[in-house]
Amino acid sequence: MFTPLKARKKTVSLLLALVLMLSLSGLTSQGRRNITFIEEALITVVAPVQGVFQHLTRTVTSFLASAKNYQVLLEENAKLREQLAASSTLEARLTELRKENYRLREMLEFKASTDYGLVTAEVIARDSRNWFKTVTINKGSIHGIEKNMAVVTSEGLVGNVLAVSPIASQVMLLTDGRRAVGALVQRSREPGEVGIVENAPGEPGFLRMLNLPREANIQPGDTVISSGLGGIFPKGLVIGYVLETGDDEDGIQKYALIRPAANFNRLEEVFVVVPVTMPDTEGDS
């Protein structure tokens, strides 16, 4: 008598908890105004640890890439093996520094040439699950970051800030299915040809531009920029380049497949676009 009652109680509790999680998920699926204190605290505690591991991962990846080159050299000249072994670590470091130098120089030039206020941030973690596309950056509310601010690289638009804690923020990438951006073709800049750019299902890493009129002046190679509509992304940020165009299933509208300008697989440093009136954070590069 006791056991079935207890088992039923357990089942009911489990079902209630599942329904609660499902409802919560439904309520938060379209975004939230703010995150709770507990979430903020959790992100604040875990972000520095994630940052350390991200650095370690990059170092190891860089070292492995260098070691691969080293193997080729090893086969070509056996006499230089010991010398190469000693220099491989140095080479890895040098390669990493060279790449970092190139990236930072590009970012510096971009920062100087742009009209926006920019806060430099480093990517310290990324969501490795394949359903949602987010990254965590090492700048938060104490650096002036606010929810919904646009995030870019020197190459183009990356996404927008999803949640902010004091020292870290989560960024939703353009390739996340929850994100859509108002966009137009830079060449024509036809106001009547504003489309929506979102992730392209079935084409991982690519975007698609929808809602374009059938007569839209768009062709492969065109640059697609943000339209500024919607209030989140400032106008004129490069989103990507048109790869191909076509008619949608009904033949009423046109669509375009877009290669994102930013390389989402190699996000290391990014910029958060802040209002120009706000002074840039000191020493944030």
Binding site: L18, L22, S25, T28, V49, Q54, N130, F132
Partner: protein, 169 residues
């Protein structure tokens, strides 16, 4: 002690999930280390503990990685509870059982996630494409990961380091 070990296990997993595992993986597919641990721990305990572990891990995962709050908590809780139901049905010293079960539960979690995506988001995910190019690779990875992980967890549980009494509910 068991609480500390399980917390440490998950903390390490969260950090790895956001760094190393986000880079490694064939064709851009990454394993869900947390799901594998939830299944393994649930198979070593019971349905109630499996559900609680899945719920806690999923909630933290949602907070840390920016998915809708409760989304992966729901999925992991469901998987944890179902895996826990089978805890008394499998021979725990036989590694193939958890390996096969993690494959089944990975596929199940992918189906549940797909259904939730359809429910909450307007964009359609081409599920068959996803199943072929992502889910099956993930299943294979989880199959191998649990083979490496489970024996250690099982050994730890034999010394009651994970749960004080397995299946005592």
């Amino acid at each position: 002690m068991p609480f500390l070990i399980i917390s440490g296990l998950f903390l390490t997993s969260f950090v790895l999930q956001g760094s190393v595992l986000a880079i490694a993986g064939p064709h851009g597919v990454h394993p869900d280390f947390i799901l594998v641990i939830v299944v393994a721990l649930a198979l070593l305990s019971d349905s109630k503990r499996g559900a609680i572990i899945g719920l806690s891990a999923g909630l933290i995962q949602d907070v840390l990685f920016g998915s809708p709050l409760g989304f992966f908590a729901f999925v992991n809780m469901l998987i944890g509870a179902l895996a826990g139901l089978l805890a008394d049905e499998i021979y725990k010293d036989f590694i193939l059982a958890p390996m096969l079960l993690v494959a089944v539960f990975t596929l199940l979690s992918e189906v549940v996630i797909f259904l939730l995506m359809q429910l909450f988001f307007t964009h359609s995910v081409p599920f068959l494409y996803y199943l072929k190019h992502v889910s099956l690779i993930k299943v294979a990875m989880h199959f191998l990961i649990i083979a490496l992980l489970y024996p250690h967890l099982h050994r730890a549980q034999k010394h009651h380091l994970l749960f004080l009494q397995a299946g005592d509910e």
